[in-house]
């Protein structure tokens, strides 16, 4: 997987990805890599192919690849996939989005940061 490109796309899906420090980025990528490694080669190829599509599709219209576009244009490209008339493109984008969310919110530190802090004795919080 082209991780630089994925980070660029993921940064539009979850803006917080863009402000991760080096350790956070590594933890994010580690989860993504682990997921990719657990999948059959055919699925990994599909994800790579879809990323390439996101990269090169803007060339026709904006004469630049995805990473070189302004953030607004990048969002418009991604929205185009989400709202596409083709199920194949919609579901491809959904899969990529899920991967970005997994890498970001799957880190225990991010889950805690959004406020999800379950406790074994959760009921105690209901009747302090």
């Amino acid at each position: 997987m082209n991780e630089r490109l994925f980070l660029a796309v993921a940064g539009r899906i979850v803006p917080g990805v863009g402000s991760l420090d080096a350790a956070g980025r590594q933890a994010f990528l580690a989860l993504v890599r682990e997921f990719m490694e657990s999948k059959p080669p055919a699925l990994r190829r599909q994800i790579d192919l879809f990323l390439s599509l996101i990269r090169w599709l803007p060339l026709a219209r904006h004469l630049r690849p995805f990473e070189a576009l302004s953030p607004e244009r990048q969002d418009a490209v991604l929205l185009g996939f989400q709202e596409s008339r083709l199920l194949l493109l919609r579901r491809g984008f959904w899969g990529l989005k899920a991967l970005a969310f997994m890498g970001y919110y799957g880190r225990p530190v991010a889950a805690a940061a959004v406020g999800w802090r379950p406790e074994r004795e959760g009921n105690r919080r209901l009747h302090p």
């Binding site: 579901r91 989005k97 919110y105 999800w116 379950p118 406790e119 074994r120 959760g122 009747h127």
Partner: protein, 500 residues
Amino acid sequence: MTEREYDVVIIGSGAGGGTVAKELAPLAKSGARIAVLEWGPRFREEEFTGREIEMAARLYHEGGGVLTKDGAMTLAFGKAYGGSTVVYTGTSLVVRPDTVARWGVKGLDHADLARRSAKYMAENNVHLIPEEDQNENNRLFRDACRRLSWRVEQFPVNVKGCRGSGLCNLGCPNAAKQGTHRVQLPQAESAGVEVITNCKVERIEDRAVLARVAPCRFGFPSAWEPGEHRVKARFVVVCGGAVNTCALLLRSNLPARLPVLGKWLTTHPALILVAEHPRPITNFHGHPKSYYCDHFTESRRFLLETCMYFPFMTAKSMCGFGAPHEAMMRRFDRLQMILSLAIDPAREHNAVGINAAGEPVVDYTLADDVLNSLLESMRAAARIFFEAGAVRVHAPATERFAIERADRERIDDLVVRKWLRPGRVSISAAHLMGGARMGAGPDDSVTNEWGEVHGLPWLFVGDSALFPRCAEINPYLTIMALADRVAERVTRRLSAPGGR
């Protein structure tokens, strides 16, 4: 390859397999050799960490995200000693009489299933969680439904010593949820039933199965050494869950005419809906699921249930991306959640098949009537959220990310079918039913009303694959009741002179 011999082999240890194992335990006590072969591991208590990605990867087939053939829906089912009962929420409902009547299976009546369900309700300590242990996520739903004059009921749940960690779907860290891994399997084992974990059955042959034991990085080691095992059995009971049961039967090329094997699959396609309150509410502390609204079961064919999911699951369930999505996620402690489930009609073309490697491929089309039910469910959920005081509601079938409170009178204009496109909206299913349905003969079913496969008197199905149509409610208790019937029939056959 190791050769072994048993009287009964049960494949899978979830709601169905665990029940059959326990019901056959008296036979084991009197000397019959009975084995449960389970693909997944048996977890150690300390391995239930509550970490979302780690637990999902370990407890579910494909991390809980098995995709349907067209990629428009994800399916979640467990892989462990206890099957999906390790990850279910434990809501325990008895199937309704009209549902059983709709199934139209001769020899299967509601009174019988209700009697058997009552047995498991007692065995699994099913009861209502007291008011003081219900969090606001649950109470807001109940109160809003009541104000809207919509029928709302409390879910009986099967917990013992629940401490409200809210982690049911990641495996209970308090050993409170009474799945088959806590109740039926230990009982069966103490009577002499053997449970072999990390053991995948690859194929069924004539009165035998071919299985492979593989080492696993976590859980207790398997009772059998890694490698291939050929296990002869007088009776085989397949309880791998709707998807895997069908795949296993299909790849086994059984010597019987089974033209509808894998077909008529139903799934209760579901949406996770999210809304934001102006203040923090108690949501992830406490048991996650206390109420359901079945007001629209007959008229619009959907159910609404309280739920509370984890950050990644929540994020991927919402449509959209970028700043508004992230902003809502950051207010996790203000989120209220509702699960909506479509009561989907059984259709022959919705089917489990297999690929060249014999692995399952689930071909399920989200038909217009099902999508319309989901659309209506989204509108109803939005009304509940606003009635409960939410400031904004994320309804995926809208153009914008969220409906603001000021627009709450315009729900029907904003939540429209145009935006409810498969692939755009996250649709998932955890109630997989059918594929080896019960019925009168092979033209419209795979087994008879006792789970015996047509034409193969030594082979039974004892799990969620048996449903002729969907359960129209959360199904595990009905699966146990059906499995109880199967066990009764196997017992009778095994105890008959000559054991046939």
